[in-house]
Symmetry: C2
Subunit: 221 residues, 2 copies
DNA sequence: GCCTTTACATACATTCGTGAATGTATAAAA
DNA sequence: TTTTATACATTCACGAATGTATGTAAAGGC
């Protein structure tokens, strides 16, 4: 068929990735055939093989696209007087991204539920570099919170970071799944607030989480 | 071939399930063929089709076996003077089971990482009945803890239960994956202790979690 | 002792998916 | 302007997996 310009070829490539995402989501990665992807994208398998060596490479290309928004948008402010609020903000941003960008959400759904981690993908079972990075950022943020004295005493920042890391992973998963009882989807922000409030010194309320936060020493029944 | 007795037939059935678990774990459910399972079990595909209608039914049979130990062994004592300790005990029991029984561990690994949730399995993405049950039990336990006054005030038991539910789910997943930095595997008990300690009233230590637990009102730097 | 059912094995038909080979028309380089 | 590399489409050869149909020998009831 007609030879395309570079721009058109690049568009075709993106369309193939988009099609792959849709078919992966519907059929699961294993049961997805390149023929289905090609048909969905409005091309033939030949085109797919032109742009990607095989299904795995296509999968990684799709994954790559979805990870980018997070490195940009999920940040822990280092100069904040209340690092705990910074943590809360960062966590909420994760779900803003998932809510705003359907492609990202769908890709995460695929990664979480529509993919089997064997052979080349076996390594992905373990935490990826990005996840370990996130864990490290959390740990640093909790250390800053401890130094600021806003942290509940007696528990190591490192342990808190791990606890939060597990919390976030679980929340993403259940947020994506969309149930049970919809709480995880509907009340993600509230669950995050509760989670962070548990770490605050002198807390007696899940209370306000705005920068104007509760005093450290209030203590009530 | 020779007709077997009922006992021998039942043994064959179990061997097929065992074989399925091994092959599922290695190849992923989708890429597992009934031929591989049959060969691993030392029978032919005919035998597999005799005992199970198809791969899905075999998968559910395997899954069923692995869930049983939890309903037996993960219990929240209702008459405990410290329901928080009961919660901690229950959570730890989960990982005892996973550590003790390789078949259970392997099955959970399959469910978590080697399976795509599409079509008939699509419903499994959501929380299963057992999981919702677990969430309910957690909520009740936290309510009892609140009534006993051992719970940190200001946070709803329901929210605590959800937070713990996410924590456990995440910990299971990372415990199974075996990394990052092995902390999740090696220090599961410590992470559970920390998690529960965060909920304790008047806490200043992650401190002792034995039945001789810290007093409610101690407060130190 | 016969008959039926059980517990498999074997064989077959069909479909599906892959990768590669080949064709082809044009954009871009020379 | 000619050439060449690009961006695909089309076709083919092959294996692999599935479900079913059929074979068979012994268990177990009568």
């Amino acid at each position: 068929m007609v030879r395309k310009t570079k721009e058109e070829a690049d568009l075709t490539r993106r369309q193939i990735i988009d099609a792959a995402r849709r078919v992966f989501l519907e059929c699961g990665v294993s049961h997805t055939t390149l023929e289905k992807i090609a048909a969905t994208a409005g091309v033939t398998r030949g085109a797919v093989y032109w742009h990607f060596r095989n299904k795995t490479e296509l999968f990684f290309a799709m994954r790559e696209q979805a990870i980018l928004p997070f490195v940009d948008r999920v940040v822990f402010k280092e100069d904040d007087s209340d690092p705990l609020y910074g943590i809360e903000t960062a966590l909420r941003e994760i779900f803003h991204i998932l809510g705003d960008q359907p492609e990202v959400r769908e890709t995460f759904e695929i990664i979480s539920f529509k993919c089997e981690y064997v052979n080349e993908l076996g390594d992905m079972m373990q935490c990826t570099g990005g996840q370990l990075d996130f864990l490290g950022k959390l740990t640093e943020a909790y250390r800053r919170a401890e130094a600021r004295g806003v942290l509940r005493p007696g528990i190591a920042p490192d342990d808190l970071a791990h606890d939060t890391f597990l919390f976030v992973g679980g929340l993403i998963k259940h947020w994506l799944a969309g149930r049970p009882d919809e709480r995880f989807r509907a009340d993600a922000a509230a669950l995050i607030r509760t989670h962070v409030a548990l770490r605050r010194a002198g807390v007696d309320q899940a209370g306000p989480v705005s920068p104007a936060r509760s005093s450290h020493l209030s203590k009530a029944a």
